[in-house]
C-alpha cells in the first residue's frame, strides 16, 4: 500500500430504556471492510448485554452485517465497535480534478449504465432509480441540472454540484431528523450530511447519473493547518457517483464540498440511508428510550502502529 494514514475508530451506541425490554432484534452495519483505498487491519464489536443470537453475514452490496437478538429483559444496550483502518494518503481533490478533464460526458452515463447486464451488488443500473428515501422530484432535478450543462464531463459536473450544495445549504442538526423527507430538507436548504447526500443523489439520479449513499467516518481532528470538517461527531454520509466503466465510482462529500479522501473511512454503501443505517433495531417497549452516540476517529502515530492488537477499552 502507498503512504497511508492509520485511524483508530471507536463508535459507541448506547440505549437506555425506562421499562425493561423483554426481547430485541437488531441488524448492525458497523464493521468496515477492505475497499479501494482502505485496508481494515482489525475490527470488532462489544455488546452489553451479550446477545443470545448472533450471526455475521454480507449484504448484496458487499457490506458486512451482523444480526443479533436479545432474549432476556434488559434496560440498556450498549454497542461498542472499534476498528483500525489504513486509508491511502492522496490529494483526493487533485486526483478527482484530474479525472474531470478525461471523464465521459454526463449525458452518456444513463445509457452506459443501462447497457450493463449485471443486477447485483454495486452494478450502476441499481442506482439510477428512486429508492425508499430518495424521490426524484422536479425541483431537485432543476437545481442539479444547473451543474450539468450539455457536453460537460460527468466528474466536472458532479464536483460542481458537490460545491454548490456545500455553498447553498446550511449545516443545521436542529432542522431535520433521521426521517425528514429529502424534498423538505431541499426546500429548507438546511440539514445534516444525510440530507445533503440524499439531495445530491436525488439530483444525480433524476439526471440519469448513477449515485450511491455512503456511510462512514471522518477523522475527528483535522491534520495540522486544515479546517475541522462538519460531521465528525457521529457517523458521516457522502455520495458515490458512477462515472462510466473506466473510472467507476468516485466519492464526493457535499457536506464539506470536497472529494472523499484520506479523511474519510467507508463503513457501508447502499441506495440511501435505509440500506446502510448503522443500527437497525426493533425493540418491543412501551416506555421511552434514550440514545447516546459517540464517535472518535483518531490518527494513530506512525510509531504506535506495530504490534498493537488490543484495542478494546
Amino acid at each position: 500500500m502507498a503512504r497511508a494514514t492509520t485511524y483508530e475508530i471507536r463508535h459507541l451506541t448506547a440505549y437506555e430504556y425506562r421499562m425493561a425490554v423483554p426481547f430485541a432484534r437488531c441488524v448492525l452495519r458497523l464493521t468496515p471492510i477492505d475497499r479501494s483505498g482502505q485496508v481494515v487491519r482489525s475490527a470488532g464489536l462489544e455488546l452489553d448485554p451479550p446477545p443470545e443470537e448472533c450471526q455475521e453475514g454480507t449484504d448484496d452490496f458487499g457490506n458486512r452485517i451482523i444480526r443479533i437478538a436479545f432474549h432476556r429483559p434488559h434496560t440498556r444496550l450498549s454497542i461498542r465497535s472499534y476498528a483500525r483502518v489504513e486509508v491511502v494518503d492522496a490529494d483526493a481533490d487533485a486526483a478527482v480534478g484530474a479525472l474531470a478533464a478525461r471523464s465521459p460526458n454526463w449525458e452518456r452515463m444513463c445509457d452506459l449504465a443501462l447497457a450493463g447486464r449485471d443486477i447485483r451488488g454495486l452494478a450502476p443500473v441499481g442506482f439510477l432509480f428512486s429508492s425508499r428515501l430518495v424521490v426524484l422530484a422536479d425541483p431537485i432535478l432543476a437545481y442539479a441540472a444547473r451543474s450539468f450543462e450539455p457536453g460537460r464531463t460527468v466528474v466536472a459536473a458532479a464536483i460542481d454540484l458537490t460545491r454548490r450544495i456545500r455553498r447553498d445549504f446550511v449545516y443545521d442538526p436542529a432542522a431535520t431528523n433521521v426521517s425528514t423527507p429529502v424534498l423538505e430538507a431541499f426546500h429548507a436548504r438546511r440539514g445534516v450530511c444525510q440530507d445533503f447526500a440524499h439531495v445530491m443523489i436525488a439530483g444525480l439520479r433524476a439526471l440519469g447519473v448513477p449515485a450511491a449513499y455512503v456511510s462512514g467516518y471522518l477523522r475527528t481532528e483535522p491534520p495540522p493547518g486544515q479546517p475541522r470538517l462538519e460531521g465528525v461527531d457521529a457517523t458521516h454520509a457522502w455520495v458515490s457517483v458512477w462515472c462510466g466503466p473506466e473510472i467507476g465510482w468516485i466519492g464526493l462529500d457535499p457536506t464539506n464540498g470536497i472529494a472523499a479522501g484520506s479523511s474519510h473511512v467507508v463503513l457501508a454503501v447502499g441506495r440511501d440511508y435505509s440500506d446502510v443505517s448503522p443500527v437497525d433495531g426493533v425493540v418491543l417497549t412501551a416506555g421511552e428510550q434514550g440514545l447516546r452516540v459517540a464517535v472518535d476517529v483518531v490518527e494513530v502515530p506512525a510509531a504506535a502502529k506495530t504490534g498493537d492488537q488490543s484495542m478494546a477499552d
Binding site: F23, A113, L114, G116, A123, V125, L128, F129, A206, S274
Partner: protein
Amino acid sequence: MRFGGRVRPDLAPLIAGYRPHPGVYDELIDASGGMRSHWEPLIGQLAGYGTEATARIFEAADRHLRDAGVVYRVYDGPGGAERPWPLSHLPLVMPLAEWQILADGIVQRARLHEALLADLYGEARTVKEGLVPAALVAGNREYLRPLIGVSPTGGAYLHLYAADVSRAPDGRWWVLNDRTQAPSGLGYAIENRIALSRAVPELFRSLNVDRLAAFYQRFRASLANLAGRPDPRIAVLSPGPLNETYFEHAYLARSMGFLLVEGGDLTVHRDAVYVRTVDGAQRVDAIIRRIDADFADPLELNTASRLGVPGLIEAIRAGTIILANALGSGVAEAPALGAYLPALARRLIGEDLQLSNLATWWCGDPAVRADVIAHLNERAVLPAFGRTLSNGQMEHSGIVGAGLTSPERIRLIGMLQTRGLDFIGQEPVRLATTPVWERGRLVPRHYALRVFAARASDGWHVMPGGLCRISERADARQLSMQRGGRSADVWVTCDRPPDWSILVPAPEDVEVSRETSALPSRAADNLFWLGRYLERADALLRLVRGLVGWGSESGPSDDEETPSERLSGILASWGAIPFATTEPRVAAAEALRSEFVGALPSVLGQALRTASAVRDRLSPDAWRALGELSASFPPHRQGAERDDLAGAADRSAPEMSDRIEAALRTISALAGLAHENMNRAGGWRFLDLGTRVERAIVVARFSRRMAQPSSDPSLAISSLDRLLDLTDAQTAYRARYLSGPALKPVLDLVLLDASHPRSVAFQVERIVAHLDKLGGRGLQTQPDVAQTRAYRLCERLRRIEVSSLGEEAIVETEAALMVISDAITERYLAGPPPAED
C-alpha cells in the same frame, strides 16, 4: 334491429335496446348480431320472470351481501370509508370449452413467472443473456436484495397467481396485468357466487355452473401439505382494518380456517415464526401474505414499516416458514416486463406464450422511446414498474396520449426524454363488453376479468370462475373499485352437471369452525377492551340520563354536594367533562358531545376501533349496530360557551333522552348478540371479561360517590335513589324493602348481592368463572396472579359485613379490580415471547 331474425321472440324485449360498441368484443351478441347461444338459458329464464320479479331476485342478492357485511374500503379523506360491495347482478357466462383455452394460458403464465422469479433471485441468466434489461430488475423496488440466493421454503415462489384479462375485438384473450405479489379478490369472488347462487338457485343448477369449492380446498390442502406436519398453522398476514380489502383477509381466514394476524401478532424466535396467543406462543408454518413485501421485515427491508415481522427473513433463510407468495415475487408484476415475456417464455419454459400481453414498449431504450413519442396519440404511457411515481408525476394507471392538451403533451414528452427508463408505452385498449342489468334492461358495459390460479402438488389449478370487474369506461387502466366500479360473478357452464363425486362441500355449505384455531393475543386484547369500552359507554349514558332526568336542584347549603354534582363529579373524574359543574344539563351535553377523551364520542370511537380489528370475530349485525351507535354521537368542537350548551341542552332535552334510551338499548342488544352468537371457544370469553371488569369498577365507583355521607338526610336519600337507578336496582330493591333507600340495604344490593346482575359481587363471580376456564388452557409455568387476586376479592365480597363497607373498603375493591385487569392483560394479552428451548 340487425339481430332480429336470430333472437328468440320471447327474449327480444330484454335486449331490444342492446347495442354493442363498434370495434369491441361483446360477450352477449356476436359480430353478426345474433345472441351467443350459451346466454340463451339465462336470458330466457330472466325473460320468463319478467322485469319486476327479476329486480326482486337481484335485490335479494344485494341483501345477502349487506347482511353478510361484505364491504370494501375507499380511500377518500382521512381513514376512508366502507362501502357495501357493489354486485353487478348478471354473471359473465362462459362455456367450459372457451374457458379452457383461457385457463390453459393462465397456467402457462403461472409456470413462466415461477421460472422467472427463480432465475432472477438465482443466477439471473435471463439478464446476462439480454432477454430482459437489467434496469427492469435492479431498478424495481420489488426486487428485494436480501432475498437473492435464498430459496423459498416449500420450493416455490408463487402459490397464488392471478391475471387481469379481457378480449380483443376478434375474441382472443389478452392479459392486462399479472398479479404475483398478493393477488386480491378471492374472498369477493366467493361472496359474489354465494349471493347470486342463492338468489337464483334453479338457474344456477340448470346451467350446470362449475363449482368453486374445490379450488379453495385444494389451495388450502396444498399449503397444509407443504408444511409437512399434522394440523399446520396457516396465518393470513394483513395490514389491518384500514386496508382496502381487509374484509377479504378476514373472510378468507374465517372461511378457510386460517388465523387472521397482523405483524405485531407474530414473532421470530431462533429462526422460527410464532404467533402470540392467549395460550402462549405457537409455531406458524405458512403465511398468506397480504402486506407488501418491503413492509414484511423492518429489520432487513423497510425499517419504517410498522406492519411487518422483525426477523422474518432470517426464518425464511432457515427454511422454517412458507410464504404465499414469497417475498420479492412482486418483481414479476412490472408492466414493463410484458415486452419481454414472449422471449422469456421460450427461454425459461421452452414454449410459446399462449396469452398475449398488451403491446408494451419500455422507454429506457432510446430508439423505442423515440418511437413512443412519435406515436403518442396511439399510446398510453404508464410507470414502468406499475407503481405511482412518488414525485406526483404519474399515477400507476398512467396517461392516455390521445386527447392531451398541448401543455400536457409537452410535459409528458419532457418526462419521457429525461427519465424514459421510468416509463412504458402501451397500446391503448378498449375493453370487451358484457351485459349488465340496469333499470330493467340489458346494456353492454366494459369489463376485465381476474382469473386465479393456485399451486397444488400436481401442478397449477385455475379457479373455474373469477372476479369480473365492470366499468363505465373503456380504458383498462381506469378500472378500479376505488372509482365506483362494480363486480360480477363468472359462470363457467358445463354440458353436464359437475361431477359431484369429486366435489367436496362448497365453502358456502361448510360450517365455520374455529375450535382448533388459537386466539391471537391481540385479538383477545381487542375484544377485552371492546367489552370495557362498551360498558364504559353504557355507564356514561346512565350518568347522563341521571343528570337529564332529574333537572337541576340546589342543596340547602353551598357546602353540601347535590346528587347531580356527585354525578358530574364522576364524569369529571373520567375525563368526560373538564370539571364538575353544578349545572347538570351542561355536564350532560358535554359528556355526550365533546371531544374530551373520556366523553361518549371518544369512548365509542375507541370501541369501534378495537372492534374493527376483530371484525372476523363479530357478526355483521353487531358490527353494523356498533357503527350506527358511534355515528349517532359525533364529537362537537370544543369552545362553545357553557351557557350556550345549557340552552341547547334545555331545548333538546326530550330528544336527548330519546337518544340516550336508544343508545342504551343498542348496547344491550350488542351484549345479547355477543352472548347468543359468539363461539365460546373463541374470543367471547375475553369480550365478557372486559365487560365484567369494567362494570365492577364502574359500579364500585358509583357506590363510593353516591353513598358518601351527607349532613342533609334528604340529599343522602336522593343520592342513594340515583345509585339504584344507575345500577338498574330499583325493582329489586322495592321487592325486598318497603322503606325508601337506606344506606346499608342499598350498598348490600349493589355491591355484595351476587344474585343481582349489576352488582360488583356478580361481576367478580363471573370473572372468577372465566379465569377458571382459561386457567385450564396452555402451560401453567407461573402462578396466575389474575386468578389468585380474583379468588381473593370474591371471597372478601362474600364475607364482608355491610356495616364495614366504608369508602375505604370500596376504594380497596376498585384497586383490586384494576390489579386483576392488569394481570389479565399480562397473562393472556401481552403475549410473552416463546419460552427458551
